[in-house]
């Protein structure tokens, strides 16, 4: 299998606080990988570093065989690495259809037009297609502010999937979504992912969702990967189970080694 993402010794420090340390992860094309861990375990820091939102303090990141450390989100998106957000990043005061039309115009990778309307028949057709696929067609002419949280999440992910990405990183796709909606949302997302043949890495707190949709899990604690392997094996691990029960983990402080009394 082809390696699509490889991080080596990836670390991020905020002053004396270690947010992520020595993360060595290799992901092959087509994998669906879950990232779990308590709050503050370093999951989002990891995703932020990989997607160019946060520069790593040290380490390397390879995507598709190319070093991408230091590249910003715009360049990474062009290389096929994209993401969604825990809090959907949308244009709230614009109609849903325009959110997609701009994203589609951007995905064409051409200079933006000054006169030609953004709503071209081709883009509208493509927007309708993705709205239907994400089951949010009913909101096409609504402002984003009129959409419920689950629909916003789907729109955020839909926008991330435009422009032929190769890998999609989802940051807590089901957070803020009701229990009843979670599975329907994930079914919709995973079907869209499957159709596009994307590699997916997603952060999730709900272990039922993790068990159901991923084959491999990375378990984070105190900024390091404590377990990496098949979902059943990782979730059965005692240390991981303790983590899953939600016991808060104190961040590591540099130079402050634990004392034995």
């Amino acid at each position: 299998m082809t390696v699509i993402l490889k991080t080596t010794g990836l670390s991020r420090y905020f002053g004396a606080v270690t947010a992520a340390e020595d993360i060595n992860v290799t992901i092959t094309e087509g994998e669906i990988v879950g990232v779990i861990g308590a709050n503050g375990a370093g999951k989002t820091t990891f995703i932020n570093m990989v997607t160019g939102y946060l520069p790593p303090s040290s380490g390397t990141i390879d995507f598709g065989g190319n070093a991408i450390k230091g590249l910003g989100p715009r360049k990474l998106m062009r290389k096929g690495l994209t993401r969604s957000f825990q809090i959907p990043q949308l244009f709230l005061e614009m109609p849903v259809i325009d959110n997609l039309a701009i994203a589609l115009a951007a995905a064409e990778n051409k200079q933006f037009q000054m006169i030609r309307p953004v709503r071209t028949p081709k883009r509208l057709e493509a927007a309708e297609e993705i709205l239907a696929q994400m089951n949010i067609s009913q909101y096409r002419n609504e402002m984003v502010t009129a959409m419920p949280q689950g629909a916003r999440k789907l729109l955020d992910i839909a926008i991330a999937m435009l422009g032929s990405p190769r890998m999609l990183l989802l940051d807590e796709p089901t957070s803020g979504v009701s229990m009843e909606e979670k599975y329907a949302l994930m079914d919709t997302v995973m079907e869209a992912v499957r159709q596009r043949g994307l590699t997916v890495l997603f952060v999730e707190h709900d272990m039922e969702i993790v068990q159901r949709y991923v084959t491999r899990v990375l378990a984070f604690a105190s900024g390091i990967v404590i377990k990496d392997g098949p979902v059943e094996k990782v979730l059965a691990d005692e240390k991981v189970q303790e983590l899953v029960t939600g016991k808060p983990q104190a961040p590591k402080i540099e130079g402050d080694a634990p004392h034995e009394s």
Partner: protein, 314 residues
């Protein structure tokens, strides 16, 4: 080019004003010309506001356009109004392309203050330039248009209005489409969420830069037309209170429609004219109260009266 439905009222309004100019008194023609010229600059302010940027320095480009007309006639011997307007655009675009590299890196109050600072630098330079009349400014040469000499007085005033109308209509039609284009909408997207714009693979800097330069060019045309109509330029064109007026008018009209700056500029000019007439020492207070009422009751500007009505009807 096929006209859009929304463009027909704009053309209709321009034709109506042109026809009305044949019968209304000269002072009203002159006032309308100034209002349309001001509206052109305000369109630039609105362009920036749609991208989430408030400029308190649009007077810089307004003044450049005006002085290009004055200096072009005085030192280069150009008398053709279109050439003089074009000269203003060239000079302004040149400067805006340099300044844009810096100012589009900033947002909110920093952008506002930086734009104000550049405008005030030009003001300071002009005030110190005694050969350009210092604070008094200087007169603009008698201009021609495509070989025709309008002469002085009423005929010149009416032709200036027609020229302002044609230019304003051209820019209004362009901006009406621009606001719906990918570039125009990307400006709104940047105002809404810069993070998402970047993750869509769009360069925020590039979009804002192009928008800034176009807004400057539109502002320059407004300044040139003011100079041609008034026959005089002076450094106050770059003074910050003039830029403040442009922001005032932009808020008054709102950013909802391309016609809003025109409507607001005409209302502003008339309110100011009558306020000065009624209360020569307190006209600014009247303008302040008007703005206060607009912000309180029509936060999206006067144009929201029309869209609100439309919303109720539908």
């Amino acid at each position: 080019m096929i006209l859009e439905k929304s463009e027909i009222p704009l053309i209709g309004a321009a034709v109506a004003i042109a026809l009305a100019s044949l019968v209304v008194p000269s002072w009203l023609v002159f006032t309308t010309t100034l209002a349309i010229s001001t509206a052109l600059v305000v369109m630039g302010v609105v362009m920036l506001m749609r991208a989430g940027l408030v400029s308190f320095g649009q007077g810089l480009f307004y003044c450049l356009g005006g002085y290009a007309v004055g200096l072009g006639g005085r030192y280069l011997g150009i008398t053709d109004a279109l050439l003089l307007v074009g000269l203003g655009v060239v000079v302004t675009v040149g400067l805006a392309m340099v300044l844009g590299l810096l100012v589009t890196r900033y947002r909110e109050i920093f952008f506002a203050m930086l734009s104000l600072a550049f405008s005030m630098i030009l003001y300071g330079v002009l005030v110190k330039s005694h050969n350009l009349g210092s604070t008094d400014g200087f007169g603009v040469v008698d201009w021609t248009i495509l070989g025709f000499t309008p002469g002085s007085g009423e005929s010149s005033t009416r032709i200036a209005l027609l020229l302002a109308l044609v230019l304003a209509l051209g820019f209004a039609l362009f901006l009406n489409r621009y606001f719906k284009s990918s570039l125009g909408l990307a400006c709104e997207a940047i105002r809404e969420n810069e993070v998402r714009v970047e993750y869509m693979g769009v360069s925020r800097k590039q979009v804002l830069y192009i928008n800034y330069v176009i807004a400057a060019a539109v502002g320059s045309v407004g300044g040139s037309m003011t100079a041609l109509a008034a026959g005089h330029v002076d450094p106050t064109m770059a003074y910050w209170t003039i830029s403040g007026e442009f922001v005032f008018i932009a808020i008054l009209g709102g950013t909802g429609h391309i016609a809003a700056p025109f409507l607001a500029a005409i209302i502003f000019t008339l309110v100011r004219t009558y306020a000065v007439e009624l209360a020569p020492n307190a006209w600014q207070m009247i303008l302040g109260i008007v703005l206060l009422l607009i912000i309180l009751f029509l936060p999206k500007g006067i144009w929201s009266l029309f869209t609100r009505k439309k919303g109720v009807a539908s």
